[in-house]
């Protein structure tokens, strides 16, 4: 039985390579693991000034990342760049995220990483968690193993994996992108690629899957099922 709260989060970044890119937005919501619902008023949303702009405010992006954000936000790419230049410093925003997570530890006799929220999100194994790890190292939020200490250390819930488990035998789902999944499940695409909207949608998907698992697992007998 899991009692740790689940933090569903999402980064928007200034690049597609999680090893190099900088976050420009980080959003999260917290899921209550018992009631399986988003905890009211648990939304987090913060902006980050990209590292390249912190170093050189006149830096010129050579990739098409500004076009992508301009398309999503329906504005000119110059406007995106100008906004990014005014976003808060990375260290300030990061500290606020760490403080936010601190509020959602599960009560335990001794506060430790094991009472921290479980990290969850879409495609976080390949992308978002790598950024989390990088920033954790940069700002000294690491455990003895030099991994992030802001989340529960053992379990990570990548919702993309959950989707795969349920659709790996089917051709109904054309791809595993969040947009396709959203469309398939009938979730509105309005505001998609805003980190908060994505985190909230992912949380709803996660809740749906966890409820499904609970209803199925109560009808399946696992114990000694390999004996016969």
């Amino acid at each position: 039985m899991n009692y740790n709260k689940i933090c569903v989060f999402d980064f928007e970044t200034d690049g597609s390579n999680p090893i190099e890119c900088s976050p420009v937005q980080l959003s999260a919501v917290i899921v209550d693991p018992i009631k399986l619902e988003i905890i009211p008023k648990s939304e987090f949303n913060i902006l980050f000034k990209p590292e390249v702009l912190e170093k050189d405010n006149e830096y010129q992006y050579t990739t098409d990342i500004l076009d992508f954000h301009a398309r999503v936000r329906n504005c000119a790419k110059e406007e995106i760049l100008s906004q990014w230049k005014n976003y808060p410093q990375q260290d300030q925003s990061w500290k606020m995220f760490v403080s936010y997570l601190d509020k959602y530890h599960t009560r335990s006799s001794k506060k430790s990483q094991f009472s921290a929220p479980i990290a969850a999100g879409y495609n976080i194994h390949r992308f978002d968690l790598k950024i989390i790890d990088r920033l954790s190292k940069k700002y000294d939020n690491v455990n003895k193993e030099n991994s992030t200490n802001i989340f529960y250390p053992r379990d990570v819930i990548d919702i993309m994996n959950l989707v795969f488990y349920w659709f790996e035998h089917s051709s109904d789902l054309k791809s595993y992108s969040l947009d396709t999944v959203r469309e398939y499940f009938g979730i509105s695409k309005d505001g998609a690629h805003d980190a908060l909207k994505d985190a909230e949608d992912c949380a709803e998907l996660l809740i749906r899957f966890l409820k499904l698992h609970r209803s199925v697992s109560s009808r399946v007998k696992f114990q000694n099922s390999f004996l016969n």
Partner: protein, 538 residues
């Protein structure tokens, strides 16, 4: 009473050890205390003896409730029968403790074996629970003098067969010469004395314990605030201070005593009584130690802390003690008098900690005209000497203050959790406060006095779970659980999940979960037998 002693373990003198206001409020002369105070005996009989000498354990409270002592004699007996000897001595399939309780409550007939023993055993319902009773018997029916009677006590205590044989012979001969009992009766009485010595207690000791127990109960009855403030102050010396604080605070609240989180304006180091309430001390906050306290006192010297504005407190006090301690102080509610949420104060402190000392000094130069943290930072941004980069940073900090990245309202759940973590118990609110309890028919506070016995629906937060295995019943060896729930009014410490219910609801039974329970009152009336359990909804 042959001996009266204040044992070093006595709780009562603790009250006089307190240094400041407590000893002034309560400093009684023992001879002035009324030993027949009805309300004190009622408190003992209700089992409300947390903190009372010898009676504060669960066992002590339970036996006090069953036995309902109404004088020192009965209280001495209670103290004797709750000792390991009586609890372990089995006669006719029942412990001596239970024999005594049942006889006292008229559930078992009182038998003195021989009418000559009645005057000696009538005050203890025919049970030989004191060593002095054995000596009295030897004196009355075997004609022993006091020295011989004491030798009998010692011989039995030492368990040396040769000495026993010698004393037994003297006893039988003595009985023969007085002729009060026959030889066979004398043999049987001696055998009884011999067995009783495994569990009987020294009466003088029991009486001195009883008086100490009564005195602490008297104080709890008539000076409850002093009693609790004193006990809370010394809770630090207990094996598990957190548990002790929690139990005492809960008990104090049950007795309608207002216990409040620390208040920085009082600058009290330990628990104190102020304006009819008990306040936590600043050093009772986890993470706020002696050295930080001293630093705080030095920061406050020459300052009237009760009149300090929010910005003064933030910039002059909170930023000048180490940040971890300042955060603990905020979380505890000690800075709650500004009407800001703890999350907001915490957030503002984190913002201010981003400033350099030079920037803080700039703000301090004009602090009395600035009302909010935002105003302070705006003043810095607009008139301070800042580099372009610092201006950018300050502007972003102001933006965060104006539009924080997460909700800065305090949820009762969070408050309950942090108070539990850093004060040892939640005081300001209970996690149950955020749940829908409209389907319940009583709260934990009403449970004790309610006459409803069946179909009880109650909501509470799980405080403790003790899983055990059934010894008898339909299926011995199955797991069942005793659960403690509380809801901010009081706790019910015996919610019973029998094996069937435990199996069905075990997933809901974990520390700090809030559940709705349906069930019936137990035979003992103070417990709830759970039939169904649900996750509470907000």
């Amino acid at each position: 009473m042959s001996r009266f002693e204040y044992t070093c373990g006595c709780s009562f003198p603790v009250l006089n050890k307190t240094d400041d206001n407590l000893s002034i409020l309560f400093n009684p002369k023992i001879e002035d205390i009324n030993l027949e105070c009805e309300s004190t005996w009622r408190l003992i009989s209700d089992g409300n003896t947390k903190g009372c000498f010898q009676l504060e354990s669960r066992l002590g409270r339970s036996i006090a409730k069953k036995l309902k002592p109404s004088n020192i004699e009965e209280l001495s007996a209670l103290i004797s029968i709750m000792r390991p000897g009586c609890l372990e001595a089995i006669r006719d399939g029942k412990t001596v403790t239970n024999h005594y309780i049942d006889k006292k409550n008229g559930l078992e007939s009182v038998d003195y074996f021989h009418k000559s023993l009645e005057p000696i055993l009538n005050k203890t319902y025919g049970e030989m629970i004191y060593q002095e009773q054995a000596m009295e018997i030897a004196k009355d029916i075997a004609g022993f003098n006091l020295q011989e009677a004491d030798m009998l006590r010692k011989a039995i205590g030492k368990k040396k067969p040769e000495e026993m044989a010698k004393v037994k012979l003297t006893f039988i001969e003595g009985c023969d010469s007085t002729g009060i009992v026959s030889k066979s009766e004398a043999n049987e009485i001696f055998g009884w004395i011999e067995k009783s010595q495994r569990y009987s207690f020294n009466k003088s000791h029991a009486v001195s314990y009883a008086i100490n127990a009564y005195l602490s109960a008297y104080c709890k009855t008539h000076f409850p605030k002093v009693f609790f403030a004193s006990y809370l102050r010394f809770a630090k010396d207990k094996i598990d201070p957190k548990d002790e604080i929690k139990a005492l605070v809960q008990n104090a609240m049950e007795m309608n005593i207002d216990v409040k989180p620390p208040d920085i304006r009082l600058l009290n180091k330990y628990f104190i009584i102020h304006s009819k309430s008990i306040y936590f001390g600043l050093t009772d906050i986890k993470g706020f130690g002696q050295s930080v306290y001293e630093k705080l006192i030095s920061l406050c010297s020459g300052v009237n802390i009760t009149e300090l504005s929010w910005t003064n407190t933030l910039f002059k006090i909170l930023t000048n003690i180490n940040s971890a301690s300042a955060k603990s102080l905020i979380k505890s509610g000690a800075v709650g008098h500004f009407g800001l949420s703890r999350s907001k104060i915490f957030f503002d402190l984190e913002i201010v900690l981003e400033l350099t000392q030079k920037e803080i000094n700039f703000i301090l130069s004009d602090i009395n005209t600035l009302q909010t943290t935002t105003e302070c930072l705006e003043k810095l941004l607009n008139t301070g000497k800042l580099t372009k980069k610092r201006k950018e940073i300050i502007a972003n900090l102001i933006a965060s203050l104006q539009n924080p990245p997460y909700s800065l309202s305090d949820s009762p759940e969070w408050i309950a959790d942090i108070e539990e973590e850093i004060l040892g118990c939640s005081i300001t609110c209970s996690k149950v406060d955020i749940y829908d309890v409209s389907m319940t028919n009583m709260n934990c506070g009403e449970f004790k006095n309610s006459h409803i016995n069946n179909n009880i629906i109650i909501c509470g937060e799980i405080e403790n779970i003790s899983v055990t295995k059934t010894k008898s019943g339909k299926n011995p060896g199955l797991e069942m659980a005793f659960v403690t729930i509380s809801d901010g009014f009081r706790a019910i410490d015996s919610v019973i999940f029998f094996p069937e219910q435990y199996k069905q609801y075990r997933n809901l039974l974990f520390d700090s979960n809030v559940i709705v329970l349906c069930g019936n009152r137990s035979k003992t009336k103070d417990g709830l037998i759970a039939e169904k359990a649900y996750v509470a909804k907000t």
